[in-house]
Symmetry: C2
Subunit: 373 residues, 2 copies
């Protein structure tokens, strides 16, 4: 795997995934089976929206500690300075900035969670330093230019439901010349992967109904395949399921990036396979880098790669209509294009053209939506 030169936040002992429900009195097999199913309980945050979303994000220790460490490392750049926290949520990053010595933090948050950010600022004795503004970046003016912008704007596939446009806007409105942006870089990666058992289990289900329940439903397989293979699936990919070194698809420099740059991100890719395997599709992930501009303090990366510890972003998987066998040195090449959704710009459309060795070029379209469209 290609490694960035920056250090990566190590796995911490208290790393947490969504909390595991405990059951200390379970004894027999059936109960254990139920426990196993519990682990998959998809309602974990579902019925606990709003504040629950922030709980999930803060519980993500890779995310929260990356920001904490980066902001504290940037202390020399932040002492006595003004900062804008774009999409401040519960205000945790704003508090890190105050701890790092910021004179004033403008915590901009459009949703009603802003009220909680005010309470958090107060509880941390930072009410006089953190100015919570419940509005959108485009609607407001700040009383001064800022020396730094911090923002946790990244979504699945980096750009899905992301706040990057707001960060660019805030930069153009308020950031002083040569001001600091944390993070200042974002890289998007793509790699071919295999996951045959999952693929077969999902697509193949309909052909098993006859045996299970006596009704032939195999005719639904083609429709199931069509949907399954045009959605972007948010999954946890094992690094051992990657078939080749990843390709860098996009390298966003937040100091120079424009809104126009995000209208279409297009990149070629080329993979040389490690060995004999079955290509099921392509998986994408991102890293962001915090260059603190403090001498002697290395910059720091937050990585959502399959070979790094779990983050709540996981990886984004796009399946082919039909798995393809590959060998060592098989070349998979093509182009990927990301564009915002036409009806909802927070959604993401992906066009992917690929060719395996000298095979036919195939073009597929995927979309990442909230499931309602």
């Amino acid at each position: 795997m290609e490694k960035t030169e920056n250090d990566v936040v190590p796995a911490l002992e208290n790393e947490e995934a969504p909390a595991k429900r405990q059951c200390i009195r379970c004894s027999d097999v059936e109960k254990q089976e139920k426990e196993d199913i519990k682990e998959k309980d998809s309602s974990y945050f579902k019925s606990y929206e709003h504040i629950g979303i922030h709980e999930e994000m803060i519980r993500d220790v890779v995310r929260t500690n990356s920001y904490r460490l980066a902001i504290l490392r940037a202390s020399e750049s932040l002492i006595g300075k003004a900062v804008a926290d774009v999409g401040a949520g519960t205000g945790v990053l704003s508090c890190f900035c105050v701890q790092a010595g910021a004179r004033k933090v403008y915590a901009i948050e459009a949703s009603s969670i802003a009220k909680q950010a005010e309470k958090v600022a107060e509880a941390n004795g930072a009410s006089n330093k953190i100015n919570v503004i419940q509005d959108r970046v485009e609607n407001i003016e700040l009383p001064e230019k800022v020396d730094a912008i911090v923002s946790e704007w990244m979504g699945h596939f980096l750009l899905y439901e992301s706040m990057l446009n707001s960060v660019i806007l805030a930069r153009d409105k308020w950031l002083k010349k040569d001001g600091l942006i944390l993070p200042n870089k974002a890289n998007l990666y793509l790699a071919p992967f295999t996951n045959v058992s999952f693929y077969c289990e999902r697509i193949g289900f309909w052909s098993t109904v006859k045996e299970r329940f006596g009704v032939d439903m195999s005719c639904l397989e083609s429709e199931a395949r069509k949907i399954f293979c045009s959605d972007v699936h948010i999954e946890i990919v094992d690094d051992s399921d990657l078939l080749a070194r990843e390709s860098l698809i996009s390298e966003l420099d937040l100091e120079t990036l424009t809104q126009d740059d995000l209208e279409s991100i297009k990149s070629p890719f080329r993979f040389s396979c490690f060995g004999r395997q079955t290509l099921c599709g392509f998986t994408a992930w991102f890293t962001v880098t915090f260059d603190t501009r403090v001498k002697g303090k290395e910059s720091l990366s937050l990585s959502t790669s399959p070979d790094e510890p779990y983050t709540h972003w996981r990886q984004c998987c796009m399946y082919l209509d039909k798995p393809v066998d590959v060998e060592q040195d098989t070349i998979i090449a093509g182009t990927i294009t990301l564009t915002p959704g036409k009806q909802n710009r927070r959604f993401l459309n992906i066009e992917l053209t690929y060719q395996v060795d000298e095979g036919e070029a195939v073009t597929k379209h995927y979309s990442l939506t909230d499931g309602s469209s």
Copy 2:
């Protein structure tokens, strides 16, 4: 636990929860941790809507086999008869009816999955017997009265997003006098339960942020509690976490039930606790009964009780603002009222008044929505 007199579909060997992703090459601890997290992957069906929902329902073997067995047991009542399948989905119940000998099945399905039901009918050689109608019950007329109605209309908490109103309407429009309804009865149950570790982990999270990340966020606990304790949580409850025998809250007879009956379902409850425990809240589940009216064939129940095998309905949990310690023979008494959502009638509002022994009566309000409101 109170038992119904009817037999309950036994746990089957091929019982399935949402499929487990396999990873045979994982070796070290970190990978195992990632595997553990995978189990909780909340995106399992999220990005695979539409046909994926039907996959989840058909994979629920308790559900699918209950209907299959009930319909086949009712064969003597169905041979040569006309049946309406209300909310036919992919048409699997319609196929069971044809297998049981029905002359004609009107498979009424408002959503576009109806097109798949047509394919399924054809694949099973039943195109001439299954008449798929893609429309709502209220919009259509059938060419004849029917001898039976089958429907899988139940939602979480029995009535959330349920199609029961459509079943009543279909009955009143088309069912012959003394016609068969499968299922013909539905019972809703309530029981007090404990789940201290989950409760503390979720509500208590905000007080741990200071220790984890150096920011005091304990002030969010009251807001988190407010939301957590007014949502209905869809969870898997261990029967060992039930604190008393359940109370029967509602007994719906589909042969006589009216739309008006569903405007408000109110019931007292009274529990006598098994022993010393911590009451965290109340959990609800349902059973439905299929009376096939065939001599010598017992009626059959589909149960979603915590002491029966897993179903995709799981149980519905409502948490108290503060857990309460109880002892053996502690009496928990009160009333529960279910009403449809005011803005969206497919949602569910629950008013729950309870009193622990001679303690103060407490009234709580819960709602079961899709998370968007």
